[in-house]
Symmetry: C2
Subunit: 306 residues, 2 copies
């Protein structure tokens, strides 16, 4: 019987690392500064952005918030990015995704100065990650690596299976695990018999956006399971299949008619895995904590200590 | 019993594609032009460079050869690269690797204009490959993809195992196979029981630099085996283990005291695989053929047809 894998200690470690670097930068007269750009009124994006800004404040990282109208076009957004690139007092630029349809997202990302690209989405940073060069790398997969390292299980030589191949999680996750000397397999929607390959994994990272996809039948006994998916379940049949009727989660579903659920069938996987991260309350906090690390690393990159 | 996998037809297809594009460019008044830079006197590099230049000539791609002294430093080489970047008549820049020890290779690669980077080694092109954006991508893995496509076996949903994780072959190979909707596993020196994972592969690409590492025990019956390794065997004990005593290859070894051998135990693998590429006379020709494609693609990138 496995255990709930708390991400709290790793999150606190990352924030403490960031805080320490803030202090060192302040002593050199540098005030790390994140510029956050939000286009439009997406409610989820607003919540994310305000969490990021609040976490900056708690660590003494200055933040400025640039709120643009929902009908902003690519050129207007490019000129905001250009201005922030040119402002030496701004060390990190975060353009909250997704952007409205009329905006060319990849042009915006490619316009950010790679050394200010705290999301790690710029092609140069993606390339640096693959090449093993220093750079700024995506926050969620970096947070997962911190969690795995803190677990004390060791990564070198372990077989890690990444489920999903997004640019934001799956692909950088695979690169980072490879850098840690894991054997890495990537499975996705076109994979035949994904459970067969997954069952060989010492480490499973699920980031595919399908609620409860990974269950005990996908796991080797003792596997470490990281759930990066965040899905909303509103269908009661689906809820009934994935959530034990006596659980707090089911109680919450009955009350609200919806519940957040990961890509991992948490209750089933606990029977076979050693550790399973919960959703919500799992990896999310590591993403934001690593964003803080990236902000101070960006400030360091732009202010090398002699 | 498997067959020798000839790369000849795919090589000719790639050269024909390049030739067609040269003709189209010429009709628009553009003469594709590759600048080749060689530092020092490495005999293998000299052979590679002269093959590349000869192949350019055969297709009507202009080439210029920039030969620098073995003691050239990073700054001098950077200024050569800068000059070629600034020359609008030059569409492709190839700095032959490896560079002498005193030169900072990654600084040189990062200095090349990504749109002239016909080797596909620049961080921006590495990032574009991972992100699924258009760009110039490494020639050997691109050649392997062309071979696999030409085989008519289909790639989507197949399990591909890449052995080796170099920046030049292993990592871009994995990215390209993923783009083709393969399930991809990457194994390397730290992998425990590599044969167990490899035996599940429909497609095996070996690029690890260990002569004859992959033998029949690593393969599922009917696997497609691509051998990217080129190793020189000089030890007669090793030759005796890897090469049948009656073969032409052994005859050649007895005469010269050395023989080229891939990462795949060719004679053993033929018993189990469906197709195995030979070494030499296999993938090498695809690398150079795809370099020609990259040269004309670079010329097109810099001369968009309105």
């Amino acid at each position: 019987m496995g255990k709930r894998w708390s991400c709290k200690a790793t999150g606190e470690n990352l924030l403490a690392q960031a805080k320490e670097k803030v202090t060192a930068l302040n002593e050199r007269g540098v005030e790390p500064h994140l510029a956050v750009v939000l286009v439009g009124e997406d409610p989820a994006s607003k919540v994310y952005v305000s969490n990021k800004i609040r976490t900056c404040e708690s660590l003494g990282i200055k933040s400025t918030f640039h709120k643009l109208e929902a009908d902003t076009d690519t050129d207007s957004l490019l000129s905001v990015v250009d201005e922030l690139n040119g402002d030496n007092a701004v060390h990190g630029i975060l353009v909250q995704l997704p952007l409205p349809k009329q905006v060319d997202e990849s042009r915006i990302i490619a316009a950010i100065n790679p050394d200010k690209d705290v999301d790690g989405f710029h092609p140069v940073n993606v390339g640096r990650l693959s090449l093993g060069e220093p750079g700024l790398f995506p926050c969620t997969p970096m947070g997962v690596i911190a969690l795995l390292r803190d677990s004390g299980h060791g990564l070198s030589g372990k077989h890690a299976v990444v489920i999903g191949r997004s640019n934001i999680v799956g692909k950088p996750m695979a690169q980072l695990l490879l850098k840690e000397n894991c054997t890495v397999s990537i499975i996705h929607s076109r994979t035949q018999n994904p459970a067969d390959l997954c069952r060989q994994a010492d480490i499973v990272v699920a980031a595919v956006g399908r609620p409860g996809l990974v269950d005990a039948a996908w796991l080797k006994p003792g596997a470490l399971v990281v759930d990066v998916g965040i899905n909303e379940i509103t269908d009661s049949e689906q809820a009934r299949k994935l959530i034990p009727s006596e659980s707090k989660k089911m109680k919450s579903f009955r009350e609200k008619g919806r519940v957040l659920y990961g890509d991992v069938n948490y209750f089933s996987c606990l029977e076979t895995a050693e550790l399973v991260t919960p959703v919500p309350g799992g990896i999310g906090r590591l993403t934001i904590a690593h964003l803080m690390v990236n902000c101070v690393v960006a400030a360091e990159l732009q202010n090398p200590s002699t």
